[in-house]
Chain length 339, copies 2
DNA sequence: ACAAATCGGTAAAGCGCTTAACTTTTTTCT
DNA sequence: AGAAAAAAGTTAAGCGCTTTACCGATTTGT
């Protein structure tokens, strides 16, 4: 592979001039620029990223941290990843999905200088990784929020708004006894998955304020758990006519069990799946009405936040909350007459 | 961050000695080693990966190439990714998921010296990326096979074996009229997705040899297409009592439509999902019997192949074919009496 | 006992690039 | 016209590490 040295020799300029033309970091006369560019063309020159990184102390690599505990991709992660990568690339960065199972791997990642910044996904309400990142001095941004996120850069779904919009939708259809089925939070005091915690809070508040009848249900995030939940849902939530579902992986089991019981969705029970995706919704029968996660927007904003820190762009807002969008499906309808 | 220079100074040795101790690249006396290690400890030293990469011409980064055209993760990709990353880490490499939408991005990836090697996923039967990689001189290995893979390093699912085992399973249950429903191949002459091409070939051959009644069906990889297929499957495959399904995303639609028609799975039609995963299978009602893709094994072997090229390990076999494993479910059974 | 081999360590030359400081040439201003 | 300012290049010092060549001291062989 040709080096800058080769290009400089061929174009009869100094290596510095080559650097300046390549990076537009200092003005170069049109004539010289042309010679340099011709030489680069001829040699098929590409500047070596490692040399550049060492000299400039910037690798231009951004790591999207992938927690290995995770054993499935939520449908939305793909869009998120793709959008984040595209945005990074538009700013001259590479974004890669970097697996880090444990704290040691995180430390290794940040301390060996291989990445300029980190995007943290699946943030827990109390997330030890945040402190580690702060300590390491690596710029980072969160996808999600901790309990005290004010001092941090984050983008997140606007769960409060999404829950309110979900209830609006169901109330408009005529429902007044509405449940929330989520995936539960992990054990431990404040620990837990932000989305669930926030959604529960918003749901309780909103239902209370509106004086509606609320039910709170949880089951694990898999079809079998959904099935079990289906088996006892009438007992656990008598009179409930609509369900806000924040547990896309339980849906197939839940629906199948309801069907076996002879209950019709949406006639006997409306279901609105939130923070999921149209694709996941389409995997169900009937196809679910869904408030789809704004993954593309989240990916873009997350990367922008991070790059602003790195390149000191404008003084953007350091927090961004993005709403889910309602995607019509076949799982919500007015309650059966008589309810 | 402390550098080797700092460590050397503190331990009162030369920087070279530090390097030798860190890398075990030359014998160091126990006394010196202890001094160096103490110094490293005290300073919290981590060797800078960029400096190392520049000097050694090895970044120790492996890229798992993620094709952006892809708009969903097959369930198996997660396990694959995780297993590949773990294996890489065991050999002192980092494996990251690197998005490359187009050929330019691939060239950029290989020509800037940021990665030591590439793992190519979703390989097409005629895959232009292979030639590009060869031209670039970057070591690489395939997950999947091209039409002419003999000269290349690859791991792949043993589709021939998997199809044979699938037919075995169904024949044992008493079926003799068996169909294959796949996701179709892209347009163009030899172009197409290897798994589909190979599975079709194996299916045709195997059914012919055994003198069984074969049906060949295709539909797009989404639930809606599966639903449509369900609507006409009795017409397209009259008398078929069992279906080998290589299209996990069509399954929910297909099953739902069959149910609406009053057809029972497995009594009226057995379904065996192949090259899928237990998790995807569990999303269906009834839970599908599945030949699950050996993603963990594929990830491990793929990385090993690549690292063998890089570090000139033993002379492993350059090709690996791995079988899918039968995971019992509720979607296969003997055909209804009378068939 | 003396040369040869071994061992433990050091010095220094890069790897390919960026960038501050400097030189030379051209333009501008009064 | 002469000094000052601007423009276009160059020089050279690293960035943090690896690795070859080399050197002195100890061990080995005969």
């Amino acid at each position: 592979m040709a080096t800058m040295q080769d290009v400089a020799r061929l174009a009869n300029v100094s290596i510095a001039t080559v650097s300046f033309t390549v990076n537009n970091s200092k003005p170069v006369s049109p004539a010289t620029r042309a010679r340099v560019e011709a030489a680069m063309q001829e040699l098929g020159f590409r500047r070596n990223a490692v040399g550049r990184a060492l000299a400039s102390k910037r690798t231009h690599i951004l790591a999207l941290l992938y927690p290995a505990l995770q054993h499935r991709f939520r449908g939305t992660v793909v869009n998120f990843f793709t959008s984040a990568a595209r945005t990074a690339s538009e700013h001259g960065y590479n974004l890669v999905l970097w697996p880090a199972s444990n704290d040691d791997e995180l430390d290794e990642l940040t301390s060996t200088g291989l990445v300029d910044g980190v995007l943290l996904m699946e943030v827990q309400v109390e997330d030890p990784r945040v402190e580690r990142l702060q300590k390491s001095g690596t710029p980072f941004a969160l996808i999600g929020r901790t309990a005290e996120p004010d001092a941090l850069d984050f983008v997140d779904i606007d769960f409060e708004g999404t829950v309110a919009a979900s209830i609006d939708h169901l109330v408009e259809l005529g429902h007044s006894a509405i449940g929330l089925l989520d995936g539960g939070v992990g054990s431990g005091a404040l620990r837990g998955y932000g989305p669930v915690v926030r959604t529960r809070g918003a749901f309780d508040r909103e239902m209370e304020e509106r004086g509606l009848m609320a039910f709170r249900l949880s089951c694990d995030e898999n079809p079998a758990a959904g099935r079990e939940m289906g088996a006892r849902i009438r007992d656990e939530a008598p009179g409930m006519t609509a369900l806000i579902l924040m547990n896309e992986h339980a849906a197939p089991g839940l629906l199948s069990e309801l069907r076996h019981q002879g209950l019709s969705v949406p006639d006997d029970l409306s279901i609105l799946s939130i923070a999921s995706s149209k694709e996941m919704a389409a995997m169900n029968d009937p196809e679910l009405t869904v408030m789809s996660a704004p993954s593309i927007e989240l990916g873009r904003r997350g990367v922008e936040l991070l790059i602003d820190q790195l390149d000191g762009g404008g003084d953007h807002d350091r927090h961004a909350l993005v709403m889910c969008a309602l995607e019509p499906g076949a799982s919500t309808a007015p309650p059966r007459a008589g309810h």
